[in-house]
Symmetry: C2
Subunit: 426 residues, 2 copies
């Protein structure tokens, strides 16, 4: 079964925005044990759309389209799909009434321009929209079932989950794909591949291995297209043994989620004291619902004056050692912990760049500290990253959260590339 | 001139990661006054790759490929491109020596597995990699110039800028595309389209208008494919007049950048006091280099206890009005300002959900306050957003920053959909 996706719109073709619908489509399909054969993007261009529809409908069993169902002049999907199927367009008075009603319920009058959304290809199955004004539709074009969905992500996602995926699941006779992704922090992609090379050979006929650098993480994806759950689980267990503490989670488990989960399990709370990451660690720890069970809050002490005013870093320490130093990081962590009452506190202070580096403290120098009830752990990194300021900040958040993760798992929070080190209790 | 892009890799096909290279490609091309005809993605699958290469090289003048040049078994690009061109693969000892040297310079020994990266299609132009181990290459396949670039974003981006774009610019005889994007906060896409409908008609033969909801922003893109700068500028001026304060910036100007720029121009400083956004506003204000000139820091007071401990919100206020209230927001802003010494302070407290809503304060209820030397402004929003928790948090950051933007521009910070309102000085 060949399934393809066609995302339309100048804004995705021109890169004005990230095409989240295509990513959602691919993800959902894969998690349903299926996969897309190809994904395509074209602009709001009649000729390109026609050509692409002709080629795809000739080879695919299912085509899902995103976008082009809006009310404006660059919305061409209904017209072009009708053309590909060789059917005329019909105006549906009932859909226009429904659109007007929807606007009314939100306290607006439907603009006349939205009447266009009631014009659809003859013979299509109309799919009512629960979240917006654009109705979606399904139409058979040659051998291919074409689903035309709105481009607004939340509307697109509802249609995918409620209409498209059930349809595809029923049509497909494909076996279940089994997939596990090990999420690794602290190793490069090539290094990982050499560590796991033997294992890759051992399982070569049953499990496909893919590596992916998703900075600063690397993902190891173990896939059995034949649905061999036992082989994937076996191999995952052996891979985890070889990689040790570098594996922080699997599949959709982000590092922030892993840390939050450990905190909740242990009835522990956390605070943060951030300089160069400017609130990013706090934002990460509050991303998930229920964060308040383990995250109390924190300080963003971007200026030196605030490091002193809010966290009591003595001016003498700043003068002698600088804001980016072990001394400052440790005081930030200790005071962040005591002033918030949290069980543990992470501190991050560094030079994110592009300016501010010196020969002794180049851009990328970051000091981390983790304060607990009885100890303060410190670690210094000099990130030499091609991604510049955003990457230094992002990697710093990972490094800090990873220290918390290791600590909460009972390991040395300063563990680095040496497998299985246990923390010495003081 | 037909230019297409082919992104390869199971991880992009399966949606494991956002395909930033395709977005970068499309953006760069468009900003160079050119545009892609189509963008494609296929997995690490020999047959699909072969089929896609055959189709694209038959119709395109230039094909840029991303990924598949790594050292692991799922890297197929060299092999498949050689196949499409009907040439054999050659091993380049000099490239392998270069790769070994690169690893040595970083303090590592090159794994034997990386030798694979020295095997390239015969007759290709080797493009040395300044940022990683995978050499890129260019090969003529039929009528099409194929560029094979590494998938690691920073390496890909260097190759695009230094090798591919200069090549394409020289080859193309296309006129310059003129494009301006107005960035709007506070109007929906359809509403914008009806406000600008007449203008769209007036300029129909010279300027193409595209709308894009990039929640919570909407973008109005004015494009002249014929290079008519005057028409685009004229229309942009008239559109800005109709949209008034809703336009906060243009092109690559983010709201955070606009606020930072205004602060710097006025020698003003800002702090933040965040609850439900948990550090996101601070992170946004520290994203750009040089943020320390206008951003001093802030508080993340996620728990009620910290609202009291760090910002002096009286327990009686929390008990009487709740953490999500005008009273709490105003105290957070006032105390955030005085305790940091910043010129102005934004406070955000709300219910991001999915839990914690009540009939009086449903999920999406957020109170904002802006404290200045002489005034405190308050605004309440009840965001009814399909995107859930992440969207409430993201929109809240926009709303807060927009209040600062309006204030710094001398307008009423609480302006809402009424054009041109001037703030009354107290």
């Amino acid at each position: 079964m060949r399934i393809e996706h066609l995302s339309t719109g100048d804004e995705v073709l021109n890169g004005s925005c990230t095409d989240t619908n295509t990513v959602f489509f691919a993800n959902q399909l894969f998690e349903s044990g299926l996969e897309a054969s190809a994904l395509h993007t074209v602009g709001d261009n009649r000729d390109e759309l026609k050509a692409m529809l002709r080629d795809i409908t000739a080879r695919a069993d299912v085509l899902v389209m995103s976008g082009g169902l809006g009310a404006t002049s660059d919305d061409l999907t209904s017209e072009v799909v009708a053309g590909a199927a060789g059917v005329p367009l019909d105006y549906h008075e009932d859909i226009w009434l429904w659109i007007q009603e929807l606007f009314r319920s939100r306290g607006f009058t439907a603009p006349e321009i939205n009447r266009k959304q009631a014009i659809l290809p003859r013979g299509c199955e109309v799919l009512p929209n629960r979240a917006g004004t654009a109705p979606a539709f399904r139409l058979t074009v040659g051998r291919c079932e074409v689903f035309a969905l709105p481009g607004v992500p939340r509307e697109y996602q509802l249609f995918m989950q409620e209409r498209v995926l059930p349809f595809i699941r029923e049509r497909s006779g494909r076996g279940q794909v089994v997939c596990r992704t090990l999420r690794v922090y602290g190793f490069g992609e090539s290094h990982l591949a050499s560590i796991l090379g033997d294992l890759e050979n051992e399982y070569a006929d049953r499990v496909t291995v893919g590596y992916r650098a998703s900075h600063p993480e690397v993902w190891v994806k173990l896939v059995s297209r034949g649905g061999d759950r036992a082989a994937v689980d076996d191999m995952a267990a052996k891979a985890r043994e070889k990689l040790g503490l570098a594996v922080f989670g699997e599949d959709s488990q982000t590092l922030g989620a892993v840390v939050s989960e450990l905190l909740k399990q242990q009835g522990e709370t956390i605070a943060v004291a951030e300089s160069c990451t400017g609130g990013m660690a706090a934002a990460e720890l509050t991303e998930r619902p229920g964060s308040s069970a383990c995250f109390v809050g924190g300080f963003v002490v971007y200026s030196n004056a605030l490091k002193t005013a809010l966290l009591g870093v003595p001016e003498a320490v700043l003068a002698a050692h600088g804001a980016v130093s072990q001394e400052t990081a440790e005081i930030m962590a200790r005071e962040g912990r005591s002033r918030t009452g949290a069980g543990i506190c992470l501190a991050i202070t560094g030079i994110a760049g592009p300016d501010g580096g010196t020969p002794e403290k180049p851009v990328g120098t970051v000091h981390f500290a983790l304060a607990t009830a009885t100890e303060i752990f410190h670690r210094k990194e000099v990130f030499s990253l091609g991604g510049g300021r955003p990457q230094v900040r992002r990697t710093s958040v990972y490094q800090a959260l990873n220290m918390a993760r290791l600590y909460l798992q009972g390991h040395d929070p300063c563990w680095r590339h040496a497998l299985g080190a246990r923390r010495q209790k003081p």
